[in-house]
Symmetry: C2
Subunit: 543 residues, 2 copies
């Protein structure tokens, strides 16, 4: 066989289970594209901006539990993808970046696109390699997939010089056996069990990562029910399974005041797939830890270990085998009516949420009530902004829709955050993805207005203008139409409900611009609380 | 005085001559915004995406010859700005990034937005510092400006932890005296003069950087005229002054075949403000150097030295004092008519170009004829894609329009490249900038189609689809309207001419979507050639 490096790489990636490749290619990647012509197992999905490619690979991995690849154009292409790679790193998903580079012979000429790609990749990548020869490239690809799939998942960045891609003489490489997550062991189980027994209702189990999947949730709920402990969820989960029929879990609020209140009565906290909770930002005179002073932490299953095994062992250790998990009952909020507010929109969304929906949530301040309003909605998956780099919601929706073509995807966006990666809509049309976007348009960087008020900073004309998106107003209906997405603007709860039902019932992408007032003050809303117990239903297979 | 670190920094930047700050802020930068409330000397210009902020700072610096600042939000915000910072680094402009970071006390908690900002800044920055205390911050700011303004100009990145910004007790810092460009000395002048005398018409003077400003052009032209040497311009100049009444300079073509032909008859080449020319990418069986074998290079004035002084010394050394520079005569192409093609559009643009226009050129394949068609247009400045990271043209137009509010700005864009930083239009409306955008819509990544054909790579269904922007077609008129920019679509040369004249005559931004066919094959067009000599006019003051 006489393959180019690129062809042998593509064959190797396909054999290693890569099924999707999100691209924004350039001249250096032409031979990689050409190799994909001969690799029908890998679907190449074009994006108009690299941040869409990397965010889509993140969303795909969250839902498919396997890596997608990206194809990016040298250092600046990787640069454009970094913000969503930051989010993907925080989501701890597997992801393989293929970054084209100048031919090895061209580097010394310092041509205009020359840059140090390894340095650009450093912040986000657990594994980085610049391939040196066509015959080594397939093996490098196999190692990249192996590195990306070490639990819980990581970003591997493989840099492919153009001549390494175009030279011939390569063969597909042997694959590495996939790594499995180790268990954290028995001692943490015993310590956690003792803590839960000791503290009763003054204990909490804080779940994150894979511990937010169904079987782990059921085990955690049994442990909580038998001891009286509270079930909590990290602030920004990569993927939380939730809704009616699953154990209800109280998600930590973003605002330190609210999160501290949620955790304020805990003497002991057991962490499973989660790290100890801290404030998102540092603030003057506010402690970073959200746990009350003296609260004892127990790490049951750090990220990367088998949280399901540890939680099931914990339930066994607590003799909770016969105890039923507390399952969320079906419970929808009242139908909202009248002029649209963020809170009313959150109720309308809860009432329209279809069974099996995947929600990509980047609604920021407008979505503060969503955890509460959707708690009793039909069972769904909730994907959040794991790394705080806004511009992630629309790309993640792209990737989730490609991973799960039979499930409806709801992207809940804010106007500010939508504008970072709005190019995602074009890919939604091109791939005919069933994504419904509700875009909360409050004509401001609402969260910064709240933060400014919280910090007691006096607003002058400059800072006021810097947080306003009102001049000019962005017409998202026109923007969406420009990229081929049918769109409507709504200003009442009734029209939002109607348009949302219509969009969800039709094929392909839709956008609803939901015009809502901007927030002015710190939110006073109570965080989501666990519902009343209900009988357990038999666990469904993990989704 | 009891100022916060941020306030003292803002005062220092203002005193150091910073007049504009392009922002995309977040929570960590709230105190910086608040400080701008008290610093009326600095105009804060909000962008919806960091790549717009950094590209605008580049465009501003090219036209104002002084740095603008950016305000960016932690590592991911800097990440989004990296591609255009890469271009700015290649443009060798002065630029000061202010990147907010977590409070110093918050770093150890590894909160979601934590990343290593210094590493993210490394590729693009000549100077990087993380400020450690409020009392040090103003001094750090003064050093950042000083580092950015070392000739020819560089990027300085100052990282400002939130607590360093909010703590009080700081005072404005003393300023560093600005650096001036050294001269390269007399020996290179003598060597260059000897080379030009020796080789006559087989010599070339390749100009770049500051050597493309009026006075340097006139000196170079005198040296060329007296010796018979050819005047050439680097492939992607940051800013070239050109048009009727200025010396005509032949710009190197992008395609290696054409550039090699342009340089093929040279025995000696004198470089002034430019580096030795190489191909943009490395290709199989194509040498990287564009100079013919045996061609002798003479570096008269490397970037960062005073190219004007060296070129004037060269003219003196050649006794060219009394020799007239060869000036471009006014010379417009024939009026195009009928169905629009890229070539016809280039002629229409040349015919409409107003005196004093600033052209931000990212038209890629559609603009290949522009150097030739506009050579005899009224005097103007031409700004190009210095680093090859597409998505630079619209942001650079923003910055140029803010630097030169009394001059018309023409942004020549391609559909592919426009989609990376289309958010720039919102800032154009907000700031009411006189920018006219001609957007060549050929529904493809045209340059990649040509590169694919050049490389002899067989196109299959995947690579063909990956280079097509036709499904769905992007409606740029609708996109522009979504951001508040009035727009028209044109399909004939006559309507382009009419709409371009109308847009240029009205205040504020406009967009014209020029639908043109996609390129299929390597271009055969001849590069721009120097025109016939014309009498010199007295040099105007440097612009």
């Amino acid at each position: 066989m006489s393959l180019t490096g690129a062809q042998a790489l593509a064959r190797t990636l396909a054999a290693a289970g890569i099924r999707v490749c999100f691209t924004n290619p350039g001249t250096s990647e032409i031979h990689l594209l050409s190799a994909l012509d001969r690799t029908p197992e890998i679907r190449a999905v074009l994006t108009l901006f690299e941040g869409v490619a990397t965010g889509a690979a993140d969303g795909y991995a969250r839902m498919a539990s396997r890596p997608a690849a990206t194809v990016l154009h040298l250092g600046p292409g990787l640069g454009n993808g970094l913000a969503n790679l930051h989010n993907a790193r925080r989501a701890m998903v597997p992801l393989v970046n293929i970054v084209g580079d100048h031919a090895t012979t061209h580097v010394r000429h310092d041509a205009p696109l020359q840059s140090d790609i390894e340095t650009a990749a450093r912040n986000v990548s657990a594994w980085i390699r610049t391939s040196r020869a066509a015959i080594e490239l397939p093996g490098d690809g196999a190692e990249a997939v192996a590195a990306a799939t070490v639990p819980p998942g990581a970003i591997a960045t493989l840099i492919v010089p153009a001549d390494v891609a175009w030279e011939v003489g390569a063969e597909p490489a042997a694959l590495r056996p996939p790594a499995t997550a180790p268990t954290a062991g028995e001692e943490p189980v015993r310590a956690a069990a003792a803590a839960l027994r000791r503290a009763g209702a003054r204990a909490g189990i804080l779940l994150g990562g894979d511990a937010l999947r169904e079987r782990a949730l059921l085990a955690a709920s049994r442990a909580a029910t038998v001891t009286g402990a509270r079930l909590l969820c990290e602030m920004f989960p990569a993927r939380a399974q939730r809704g009616a029929g699953l154990p209800a879990v109280e998600r930590l609020a973003y605002w330190p005041e609210l999160a501290s209140r949620q955790l304020g009565e805990l003497d002991e906290v057991v962490l499973a797939g989660a790290r100890a909770p801290v404030t998102f930002f540092g603030y003057p005179d506010t402690p970073a830890s959200l746990l009350p002073p003296g609260c004892v932490q127990h790490q049951l299953a750090p990220p990367g270990t088998d949280a399901l095994a540890s939680l099931e062992a914990l339930a066994d250790e607590l003799d909770a085998g016969a105890t039923g998990a507390v399952l969320q009952q079906s419970d929808l909020p009242e139908a909202p009516s009248g002029e649209l507010t963020a809170a009313a929109a959150c109720r309308a969304i809860a009432r329209c949420l279809p069974e099996g929906a995947i929600v990509s949530d980047e609604a920021i301040t407008s979505g503060l009530m969503l955890p509460a309003t959707t708690a009793g909605a039909p069972r769904h998956d909730w994907l959040t902004l794991t790394g705080g780099a806004i511009g992630q919601g629309l790309p993640v929706a792209v990737g989730a829709a490609i991973a799960c073509p039979d499930r409806p995807v709801l992207a809940l966006e804010a106007d500010g955050s939508a504008m970072y990666t709005f190019q995602a809509l074009w890919t939604m049309v091109r791939e005919q993805l069933n994504v419904t976007i509700v875009l909360f348009s409050n004509r401001s960087y609402g969260i910064l207005r709240v933060e400014l008020a919280r910090l007691g900073v006096r607003q002058g004309p400059v800072s006021r203008a810097q947080l306003s998106l009102a001049e000019p107003e962005i017409d998202f209906v026109s923007l969406a139409a420009g990229l081929g997405v049918p769109a409507r603007r709504v200003r009442t709860a009734e029209t939002l409900t109607r348009e949302l039902r219509r969009a969800l019932s039709e094929e392909g992408p839709h956008l609803i611009e939901a015009v809502v007032p901007a927030p002015e003050h710190p939110p006073a809303a109570a965080p989501e609380r666990p519902p009343a117990p209900a009988p357990e239903r038999p666990p469904a297979p993990p989704g």
